[in-house]
């Protein structure tokens, strides 16, 4: 793809909008003039707690499956929505079936980060967000390193949204960080004095500058209605609002996947939030931008293939990624299915990971941000074995 030579500024200048009525133009107030480094949109959702891949994309075609999941039974006979004759989808994701049929929803099964054996949420998430082969090898997150190797990045290019920490975006490249709930209204004098007072403390100074910037143009969401929408919808709506403008990347979390007990109820609620989030993004982005959008949901690990004694599942290894968006070639369950025979399991208890989430993510970055493979292998996901291109993002 040729470098972008076309920016909103030139468009506006050519169409004669710049000039006498610049300040008054309603078209100009909410947008800034920056040209983004690429045109595609990427949304990364971290599913914190360890999503049970086997209950979400149910391998009902595997002969061992039913025996492992007596009360958490899936498959079309138990309400699962058939995907391809082998896998079925958890019924709580039914609202996404039209996307599946349109090729705008897909999955990668039996994948994991390089994290093995200890099954800690915190380390698992740290590794997922660091993108490294082992723990504590890098302080920055992989999505921040994507920005580091991309010219023309500005703070608005990538947004971490919501109140939780998003380590995958932390690092030296500038990113924006905001929650749709935040508010800051200071008198001009107080604003000036606060800036002066925090000038010498880099942590406070950076946070304040960004808070003031964002408060200035954080127009209230157009979502009307008498009742405030749930937090995950507000986050998705805010992400869509930013991605319609100059932002190209949004990252946020959906919690609630640590289903040790009575998984059937807990998982239904979390999947409901995921499904809502994807549909809110689709509606908020509009058709044209949705076509350029890839949504990737990833989790720190999968869960045990067997149910535990309390109607749930414990921390495991191999998991799944959820893919959505108008830019993807979906309608497929990707990945190499390892089978659920005892001998095929990891440690005789977990789904065997047959692929690396970093490799799939790497190919997505390669396609959507034109990031070259050397940068992916050496910088963003150090040492990753990319393997063959799974062709997730449509050319």
């Amino acid at each position: 793809m040729p470098a972008r030579t076309y920016s909103r500024r030139t468009f506006l200048a050519r169409s004669g909008l710049i000039g006498c009525s610049l300040a008054a133009s309603p078209l100009l107030t909410p947008v800034s003039f920056a040209a983004a480094p690429w045109d595609n949109r990427l949304v990364v959702i971290i599913l914190r707690g360890g999503m049970d891949a086997l209950d979400v994309i149910q391998p009902y075609g595997d002969p061992a499956y039913a025996g492992l999941r007596p009360s958490l039974a899936g498959g079309p006979g138990n309400g699962g929505l058939d995907l391809d004759g082998y896998f079925s989808l958890h019924p709580a994701l039914a609202p996404l079936m039209p996307l599946w049929q349109a090729g705008e929803l897909g999955f990668v099964h039996a994948v994991s980060t390089p994290y093995r054996n200890k099954r800690s949420h915190f380390d698992g998430q740290d590794l997922l967000e660091a993108g490294t082969p082992g723990l504590h090898q890098r302080r920055d997150g992989w999505l921040n390193r994507l920005l580091q190797v991309t010219p023309g990045v500005e703070a608005r290019t990538a947004f971490a949204i919501g109140q939780g920490e998003m380590k995958l975006l932390q690092g030296p490249a500038p990113v924006s960080d905001w929650s749709p709930d935040a508010q800051l209204a200071l008198s001009p004098q107080a604003e000036r004095l606060a800036s002066l007072m925090m000038e010498d403390d880099p942590l406070f100074h950076a946070a304040l500058s960004e808070a003031l910037d964002l408060a200035r143009d954080g127009a209230p969401s157009p979502l009307g209605g008498e009742k405030r929408p749930a937090a995950h919808r507000r986050i998705a709506d805010y992400a869509a609002q930013q991605l319609r403008q100059d932002s190209r990347i949004a990252a946020f979390s959906i919690n609630g996947w640590d289903t040790h007990n009575r998984q059937s109820g807990a998982l239904r609620r979390s999947l409901g939030r995921l499904s809502d989030t994807i549909l809110t993004l689709q509606a908020g982005l509009g058709t044209a931008i949705w076509r350029k959008t890839t949504i990737v949901a990833m989790t720190e690990f999968g869960r045990t293939v067997r149910e535990n004694g309390t109607g749930g599942t414990d921390h495991g290894t191999g998991g799944a990624m959820v893919l959505a968006g108008g830019a993807i070639a979906g309608g497929r369950v990707l990945g190499q299915w390892p089978g659920l025979d005892e001998a095929a399991l990891f440690d005789r208890r977990d789904l065997m990971p047959t692929g690396d989430v970093r490799a799939y993510m790497g190919w997505i970055l390669n396609a959507m941000a034109q990031t070259n493979r050397a940068d992916i292998r050496d910088v963003i996901f150090p040492g990753v074995d990319l393997g063959r291109d799974p062709g997730i993002v449509r050319a």
């Binding site: 007072m197 000038e199 946070a207 414990d314 921390h315």
Partner: protein, 469 residues
Amino acid sequence: MSTAMRFDGELAEIRFGCGLSPNHALATGPEDVLSQLAAPDLAAQAWPIPDFDGAMAEARAYISLRQEQREAVGTEAFEARNVALTEQRARLRDLRADWFRSRLLRCATSAQPFRERLTLFWADHFTAQGKVPALRYAASPYVESSIRPNVSGLFEDLLIAAVTGPLMLHYLDQHRSTGPNSPRAKRVSDRRGQDIGLNENLAREVLELHTLGVDGPYTQQDVRELAELFTGLGYSLKDGFTFRPGWAEPGAETVLGQSYGGDSAQLEPILNALRDLARHPATAQHISRKLAVHFVSDAPDRHLVAYMAARYQETGGDLLAVYAAMLDHPEAWQPQLANVKPPFSYLASACRALAIPPAALGGLSRGQINRFFLRPMQAMGQRWEFAGGPDGWAEADAAWITPQALAERIRWSMDVPARLLRTLPDPQQAADQALGARQDARLRFVVSAAETEREALGLILTSPAFQRR
């Protein structure tokens, strides 16, 4: 050792206490700070919170009212029972607001602020939360019973109190975990054809978070064996903690190469395993480092940590000795304030610095407690008593000073203290109360240049010098 790195009374209040207060004299030396722990717990007497048994009584009342309401569905009695249930629910919410207020007042007024800081630290280290409506309010009573009385004894006693606390057993699913070969598992399998079994959650967190640390010398096999050893730990709403031999996995279990238990199911081998974990060198290292990170700096000097860990090992985990080592080390007294106060400590230290009268806090309704404190804390990233997971709140300063959290700290500082004070203090006096000697020329200028007293007060409280410790 640089000459500046020595005991400083203001620094003692800021770094190891709840901040400066115009109502209390400064600590005079490390022994003075430690002596707070030997004295009777005055703040708990002044601002009481019931113990966990008291909270259980409220939970039982809630559950029986809910049961009665359900049984009355479709009958004439329903309306009255529904009202009774709703009232009990409101009572639980009121209690939670009362307990929050007590904890805030303790930090804001105590003459033994080091005890408050330690209680907060260990309550976070042993995070436990109610996951059902009846226990959703139980975290403060859990801290009152299991944590607070044990903050200056042996770590093993604190560990045992926390891990066998009913709220912890509930939070980390231990009360449901059953030995796969236990009498109970066999009975359920025979009667209902169901397989019930182990849940590893508590065992994993004890190794990873509470004792050895995630880099500690344990394997998945140790997690499994400890989970098998833990079977039998349980609680009931009626009796609190119970040991249930019928749930326990038969036989001995090997954890870190050491065998525990054997023929008959007993509690003692479980406690022995916890004691051994508490005395393990990896635990000494993990706990010492975590204390140093929390109290001194996100990146503590390794000599400080080594010094504390050595005292820990010499004394078999005597926490008082470990604190003494920390306060004794020059690195603990570096004058630069390195850490950021988390939201609760931040708000409490503001109340303390401004000497907001206890009566003003005592008179707040539940709605006002929510509006003035709990909701702002959530917007600052700290949902009171509901950290994101069993690892508790972040220690990293950057986790708290995000644009949205800082925006809320500024908003709160400009708004809430002024509502709680009948008359606003003179700005320079407020700066002296809040910051002591930690005011530079720029801060003095800011205070003098603010357009209103309210803004001056807000700016003092949002100065990095006040937000750090």
